[in-house]
């Protein structure tokens, strides 16, 4: 009974197998393998944004600011103080989580939903401006260069493929962690506030405290993703905190599907690969993405991953949507409702 694999994991596992094997054969040059790293980094950022969107049912428009902040923290520590990227990988989420705690405390005590989105947007723009203007610390518009890669036993993880597998391992760990967090007391508390805040309070869930903690956790996670970015692409600049990345993460979550864990992973892959195919179009890519996003929201509002899950379920002849296993089931149900 305990060994029963939730249905989501079968599909996820299949995707994973493809993801692990394909790079070796299809992504043969350095540039293409760099895209793979980007997929993983976006996937982690997407998972983080989805923690706010899917689990909390809220929205943060300043999420990229925490991503960029994490990138700057780790880059700065390595460049100025010579601190190992490994410490940076811990310091970045810690710093982002701490700032997230503060912002969350300010914003979530009073606001939810649309107001929260506006408050976080304001914070995001503020953070971006600071990164742009505070030259002595942030390097101004050109940012910081020559960020060192992490090294393992004296061997620098510079190669795209090595960094990809390293980041992939972390991504899997995060998905695993998130899936278990859901059924924890904390995860259920957060979920219950999402479902009905008044009812959650009536049964003893300290709603605001839980939301502030959950928000801070998501910020820490996205800060970690930012640090991964900094030490691979080896530069940081104010754009990392800006709305471009905010929209990328949003596309990753919405196209992939909220509240499904594997959704943002798939969304990240779709985003990076499609935008690569459209590279010749330069900035017009985002026009196409706008259209794609519109089409997804209109015709597949639950996202690609939940839609595939639905199809898979149908193929297995189990039209009974309600029987999709305990922890994943809750979320699949909500997705079904959205569809």
């Amino acid at each position: 009974m305990r060994l029963r694999i939730p249905p989501g994991w079968w599909l996820g596992g299949l995707v994973l197998l493809v993801v692990v094997l394909v790079p070796l054969f299809l992504f043969t040059n350095t540039y293409n393998r760099g895209l793979l790293v980007l997929i993983v980094i976006y996937a982690i950022a997407g998972l983080s944004l989805d923690y706010i969107m899917g689990e909390m049912g809220q929205f943060s428009f300043g999420h990229a600011a925490f991503w960029g902040f994490g990138a700057y923290v780790s880059a700065k520590l390595a460049l100025d103080l010579g601190i190992s990227p490994w410490i940076g990988f811990l310091a970045a989420p810690a710093a982002a989580g701490l700032v997230g705690l503060l912002i969350g405390y300010i914003a979530l005590r009073r606001t939810r939903n649309l107001e929260l989105a506006i408050v976080t947007l304001g914070f995001g723009v503020l953070a971006w401006t600071v990164a742009l203007r505070w030259r002595p610390v942030t390097g101004g518009p050109s940012g910081l260069r020559q960020v060192p890669p992490p090294s393992l036993f004296g061997w620098e993880i510079r190669s795209e493929l090595a960094y990809f597998y390293f980041a992939l391992l972390l991504l899997l760990g995060i998905v695993f962690l998130l899936s278990r967090l859901r059924t924890s007391r904390f995860g259920r508390g957060v979920r219950s506030i999402h479902e009905n805040e008044d009812l959650a309070k009536s049964i003893g869930v300290a709603a605001t405290k839980y939301y502030v903690l959950a928000f801070s956790f998501a910020c820490a996670l996205v800060g970690f993703s930012g640090a991964l970015y900094a030490h691979h692409f080896r530069f940081v600049n104010p754009n990392l905190l800006g709305l471009d990345y905010m929209f990328i993460f949003l596309i990753v979550v919405l196209v992939g599907g909220t509240g499904t864990l594997w959704g943002p992973v798939m969304g990240a892959a779709i985003f990076v690969l499609v935008s690569e195919w459209l590279r010749a179009l330069q900035e017009y890519r985002f026009v196409i993405f706008g259209v794609v996003l519109l089409l997804v929201v209109l015709f597949m509002p639950i996202g690609v991953f939940p839609a595939l899950q639905k199809i898979a379920r149908r193929i297995r002849g189990r039209n009974d949507d309600k029987e999709s296993g305990a922890p994943m089931g809750e979320h699949a149900l909500e997705a079904d409702k959205a569809g």
């Binding site: 924890s184 479902e195 009905n196 009812l199 959650a200 309070k201 009536s202």
Partner: protein, 255 residues
């Protein structure tokens, strides 16, 4: 010592007092009815007691200590749990998950345990699961455990709502018009549940609109009109009270 006591409890909305100098004293083990015509301040009183809105004046005492203005979740921790007038559930979740979420205060599992699925965590989770089944069996939803909450009938909604509240192990349960929308059979079943709860030591404050229901089950009844208490006593006393009759039916012409 009463388990719940309010003195001078007042809430103004603009210039209007929705609850006006309410003195209420509920003894442990009672089923207290709180009745009154529409708009008489019953729900506001309940919201004040459970911390959903803050009083303009006055004091709420629970188990002897002043809890005025405390947060709902802190009151729940002290055993003061409520339900809502409009059925309030985790609609998208299964019946089981509804009560699992309701078990928040009695969930001893640690975060580390949940992440590692330690033996201790699995044992504690199994215990919670057992309690969820017990509660659902108690309210008569044992067979519906896998149903999605929003698919339940009106009666089942109310039973589930009570199961969620019970999962928080209340010492005192405040029910806001739980019989609304139920047919007589379902309402009778619900009243039986409430009686059983009382036997198990839960004090109940029952806000109700329907006189007949409440006179059958309550030990004492408090009547509100225009936010103020106009009568209090046993069901027999209340039914015969001319002020109450006037409040409900209006004044007889010439009387």
């Amino acid at each position: 010592m009463p388990i719940l006591e309010t003195s001078g409890l007042t809430r103004m909305f603009g210039g209007l007092s929705a609850v006006d100098e309410l003195d209420l004293s509920v003894e442990e083990g009672e089923i207290r009815g709180l009745i009154g015509p529409n708009g008489s301040g019953k729900t506001t009183a309940l919201n004040l007691i459970t911390g959903y809105i803050k009083p303009t004046r006055g004091v709420v005492r629970y188990q002897g200590s002043d809890v005025s203005g405390e947060q709902p979740h802190d009151l729940a921790r002290l055993g003061l749990v409520r339900t809502f007038q409009i059925t309030t559930l985790f609609e998208n979740l299964t019946v089981r998950d509804n009560v699992l979420h309701g078990s928040h205060l009695n969930n001893p599992t640690s975060l580390m345990g949940a992440l590692t699925r330690s033996r201790r965590y699995r044992r504690q989770s199994a215990e919670i699961e057992d309690r969820v089944r017990e509660l659902l069996a108690f309210v008569g939803l044992g067979e519906r455990i896998d149903a999605v909450a929003r698919d339940l009938s009106a009666g089942e909604h109310r039973y589930l709502e009570i199961a969620i509240a019970l999962a928080a192990e209340p010492k005192m349960l405040l029910l806001d018009e739980p019989a609304t929308g139920l047919n007589p059979e379902e309402a009778a079943y619900l009243m039986n549940l409430i009686r059983t709860l009382r036997r198990q030591g839960v004090t109940v404050l029952l806000v109700e609109h329907n006189m007949r229901l409440i006179t059958n089950i309550c030990t004492r009844i408090t009547v509100l009109n225009f936010g103020a208490k106009i009568a209090e006593g046993t069901p027999e006393e209340i039914v015969g009270n001319p002020d109450v009759i006037t409040a409900y039916l209006g004044k007889r012409r010439g009387a």
